[in-house]
Point group: C2
Chain length 469, copies 2
C-alpha cells in the first residue's frame, strides 16, 4: 500500500469513528506534513483520494472539511453468500429488466452504460474517416484476428505506465470486452464446471455461466475492497473451482477496488491452485484517485491471468473494440475468436488506431473522470436526501456505479416496477446473484451528468422506496 | 423450374453428349424461338446462363458457340460419404493451412476471401464518415442488438424482389455471418447432437460443430446442384438429426446451386421432421445468371429456416456486419447475440445504412458479378491448360470458388505444402470434411481478377500436381 493510501485510510477511519465530525475542518496540509513526517504531495494525494471517495470536500481558501452529506452515508454490509456451487438461471430476469435500456424516455438510473454524450464521438468520426479513406484494402485481411498490429501496439503501450507488461503479441482484439470474456471462459471451462464470482456480481458474468451450463460459486466481498481473498481461499479448498471471473477495479455493481495487497494475494492463491483468473478491467481507466489502479495481471508470473478490457466504457461506445491479454491461453483465445466471429471490425480498429496516435485520449479521460467523480457526489447527496432512513451506499473511487442497500423490507423488483411506471429505470439487486439474494439492493448509475432529470429521478425512486419500506 | 432453365439444361445436355461440339455454332436466337416456341428473352436468358456456366461463348456479330476451353472440363463426381455421424476434429488442420491467409506474398488461390480491391472501400469510407459525423450519440445505445432499425429495414427491403419475405423485426444484426451462424447453431443444438452438413462442406461449419462438441453427418452432394435431398431424407430417417447447416446458393467449396425444386423439397422435408435449417447464404448475391437465386427461406412456412448472410463477401469486407433471419428462433438468437458480444459495431452499421440509402449497391454488384464470371472463365481455362489429364472441375453459376478433383494419386496436403514453397496458397480437400476424405481435391478461389500472378500460379500448381500424379 502506498504512503498516501495509508494516510487516507487513517483519516477515513477517524471520520468513521467520529473523531472528526461532519463539517469539521481537517488539519492543514502543512500541519499534516509536520505531524506525520510525510511530503506535501503525499498529503495532497491522500486528500484527493478522500475527496474522490466523497468523505471530505475542499472549500476554496479554507482547506478541507469532512463532508456533511457523507455523514449520512453508511457503507453496505459485506456480503456473506452460502459457499455452494449452483446452476445459474438468471437470463430471463435480466432480459425482462434490461429490455428498457433502449427506451430513451426513461431516466437511465438502472442502465449499464454511461451517457453517450460523454464521449468524443465527432473527433473519433474524423479519425475514422481519415483512416478509412486512406486504407490499404489489404488491411481488411491483415486486421483479421488477432487484430490490427498497430492497434495492439497502441494498447500494449498503455499498460507500460501501469507497471503491467502486456506484449502486443499477447493481445487478441475482440468485438468488445464481452466477447473477450466469453472466449476466455470458453477456453478454460467445460459445461458443469464451477466458476467463482463475486457476490454481488455483474449479471453478464452470470449469463455467460448460464449459457455455458457452468455452476457459480459466489464469494464474499467487502463493498469497498472487493472480493475477500481469504473467503475465496476457503471456497477453493473445498470446491473444485475451475476459473474465477472477477473485477478487481471498480467492480460492477459495487464499485469496489481491491487494494494492491489483495490483488497480489489473489494472484498468488490462484497460481498455487493453477486456476485461471478472467479479469474484467473495463472500468480501470475511470479512477478518481491519483493514479491508475493496476490490474491483477500486473502480479501474474504464471500466465494464468486472462485480462480483458475495452474502449466501450472509456472512449468509444458502440465501436465494439475490446481485447484479451490471455497469458498462456493467448493462442487458444485467438483461435476461438477466429471461429466465433472471424475478426473485429476494421473501421473501428483503424479509427481507434488513428485516434490513439493523435487524439488526446488521456486528456479526454481526465475530463471524463472529473465529470464522473463530481456526478457521484451529486448522486450520493441525492440519495442521502431522498432515500429512506437506513439506506446504505458505496462511494467508489472510480467507475460509474454505486451499490445501494435499502431497508430490508423494500423489495427491489417491486421498486423497479414502480419506478418504471414513473419513467425511471432501476437495476434491482436480484440481477446480481445466481441466488437472487440481494432483494433490497439496487445498482445506481451515476454516469449521466448530462441528464437533466436525474435529480428528480432520485427523488422519485426515494419516495417509492420510502413507501415500500 | 423456369422456361429458360429448362432450355439451358437441354442445350447443356446436347453439349455434354457431344451432339453439338466445341467450337460449333448454336442455332440463332430467332431459329430457337421458332423451333421451341419460346420468346426471344427466354432464349437470351438461357444462353446467358450457359455462358455464365462457361459452356458457351458469344462472338460479336457471329452468335453463340460451344466453348472450346469448356470441352476439357469434366464435372467432378457426386460425393458419396458414409452415412454415419462422427465427432469433428478439423480445427488444427484448418489453422495450420489457413494461417497463411494474411501473407501478402502468397498468391491467394486457397484463400477464403475475394480480393479486397473489388470493393468500393473509399465510397464506403465517405458514407461512414458522413453518418458518424452527424451521429446522434444515443444511436450507440439504439444500435445495440438486434441492431440499427434503419439498417434492418434496408436489408429487409432487399429480400422483397427475391420473393422471400423477411421482416425487419426478424433480423438480428451480427458481427458478420460467422457469428450469426454460430449463434443459430447454439440455439438449436446441445453438445453431442447430430448436425447434417454437405459433403464436402465449408470448414468453418465443421469448426463450429467441433467447438460445440457436435457430431457431423455428411450428406451426398452433386457438384452442380448441391445437396442430394433424397440422400438427406435417408439420413434423417435413420439418424436423429437435430439441425442442418447448408449453403444452397453457391456452396463453399463446390460452388453448387440447388435448383428451386430441390430447395422446396429440402424445406418440406425439414418441416416434416421439424428440424431447423441453418442457411448460409453469403454468396447468394454473386450470381452470374439472369436473376438472384432465392434462398431456401423463400419456401419456409414453419419458421424453421434460420437464414444467415452478410455484406462481407459482396460489399464491405472487414466491416463485420452480418445478420440472421431466424424465423421462430429470432428472439433466442437476439438474446444470444446480446450475451455473446452485446452488439454489432455502430460505425459499420451506420456507414452501411448510409451507403445502402444512397450508394449504388446494385451497380457495384453488377460490376462485381461481371468481374467474377470473367475471372472464372480465365481460371477454368488455366486449369484446363496446366493441370494434369483427368482433372475435373466445377463451373459454378456464381460465387468465387471452384472445386477441383485431381487424379486420385495426388495428395492435396502434399500439393498444398509444395505450392506454399513456391509462394502459392492452396486449400486442400482434406479441410472440407470431418472424415478428411477429399484427399485429391482442392478449392480454387477465382475472386482475384486483379492479381497479376494468378495465371502463373495456376501453371505452378498444375506442374506440381502433374509431378505428384
Amino acid at each position: 500500500m502506498k504512503r498516501y493510501e495509508v494516510l487516507a485510510d487513517e483519516v477515513a477511519e477517524s471520520i468513521a469513528q467520529g473523531r472528526i465530525r461532519p463539517g469539521e475542518r481537517l488539519s492543514s496540509v502543512r500541519e499534516t506534513c509536520r505531524s506525520r513526517g510525510v511530503s506535501p504531495s503525499t498529503v495532497f494525494q491522500a486528500y484527493y483520494l478522500l475527496e474522490a471517495r466523497g468523505l471530505i470536500e475542499a472549500r476554496p481558501r479554507s482547506g478541507y472539511f469532512v463532508s456533511r452529506a457523507m455523514a449520512k452515508h453508511v457503507e453496505p454490509e459485506p456480503s456473506a453468500p452460502a459457499a455452494a456451487g449452483r446452476p445459474v438461471e438468471i437470463s430471463e430476469l435480466v432480459f425482462q429488466v434490461l429490455g428498457h435500456a433502449k427506451n430513451r424516455a426513461l431516466v437511465p438510473m438502472g442502465s449499464a452504460f454511461p451517457s453517450p454524450g460523454l464521449f468524443p464521438l465527432p473527433k473519433l468520426a474524423l479519425s475514422m474517416g481519415k483512416a478509412m479513406r486512406r486504407l490499404d484494402p489489404w488491411q481488411t485481411v491483415e486486421d483479421l484476428s488477432p487484430g490490427s498490429a498497430e492497434l495492439r501496439r497502441q494498447i500494449a503501450m498503455r499498460y507500460l505506465p501501469m507497471g503491467c507488461g502486456v506484449d502486443a503479441d499477447e493481445l487478441v482484439i475482440t468485438n468488445g470486452a464481452m466477447e473477450a470474456l466469453n472466449l476466455c471462459l470458453e477456453v478454460v471451462t467445460e459445461p458443469g464446471d464451477l466458476v467463482a464470482v463475486e457476490s454481488p456480481t455483474f449479471y453478464a458474468a452470470l449469463q455467460a455461466l448460464e449459457r455455458r451450463k457452468l455452476r457459480a460459486v459466489e464469494v464474499a466481498t467487502h463493498p469497498r475492497t472487493g472480493i475477500d481473498v481469504n473467503a475465496l481461499a476457503a471456497v477453493m479448498a473445498e470446491h473444485p473451482v475451475k476459473a474465477c471471473w472477477l473485477m478487481p477495479n471498480f467492480q460492477n455493481p459495487l464499485g469496489s477496488l481491491m487494494p494492491d495487497a489483495s490483488k497480489q494475494a489473489l494472484v498468488e492463491l490462484l497460481a498455487k491452485h493453477q486456476v485461471p483468473l478472467i479479469e474484467d478491467d473495463v472500468y480501470g481507466e475511470l479512477y478518481f484517485g491519483p493514479s491508475r489502479p493496476r490490474p491483477a495481471k500486473a502480479w501474474d508470473r504464471s500466465g494464468l491471468v486472462m485480462h480483458c478490457s475495452s474502449f466501450s466504457k472509456t472512449l468509444a461506445p458502440g465501436y465494439r473494440v475490446g481485447w484479451a491479454a490471455a497469458g498462456r491461453f493467448t493462442a487458444e483465445v485467438a483461435k476461438r475468436k477466429l471461429m466465433s466471429s472471424l475478426a473485429a471490425p476494421v473501421p473501428s480498429q483503424e479509427g481507434l488506431s488513428e485516434y490513439l496516435r493523435h487524439g488526446g485520449y488521456d486528456r479526454h479521460l481526465r475530463q471524463l473522470r472529473g465529470l464522473l467523480a463530481q456526478q457521484q457526489q451529486q448522486v450520493l447527496r441525492g440519495i442521502a436526501k431522498h432515500f429512506p432512513a437506513g439506506t446504505k451506499v458505496t462511494s467508489p473511487e472510480g467507475g460509474y456505479f454505486a451499490w445501494v442497500e435499502l431497508p430490508p423490507s423494500v423489495n427491489a423488483l417491486e421498486l423497479h416496477r414502480l419506478a418504471l411506471s414513473q419513467a425511471v429505470s432501476v437495476a434491482p439487486g436480484q440481477l446480481f446473484s445466481a441466488g437472487q439474494g440481494f432483494t433490497h439492493h439496487m445498482r445506481v448509475n451515476f454516469g449521466h451528468p448530462d441528464h437533466e432529470d436525474f435529480e428528480s429521478a432520485l427523488r422519485t425512486v426515494g419516495s417509492i422506496a420510502k413507501a415500500l419500506a
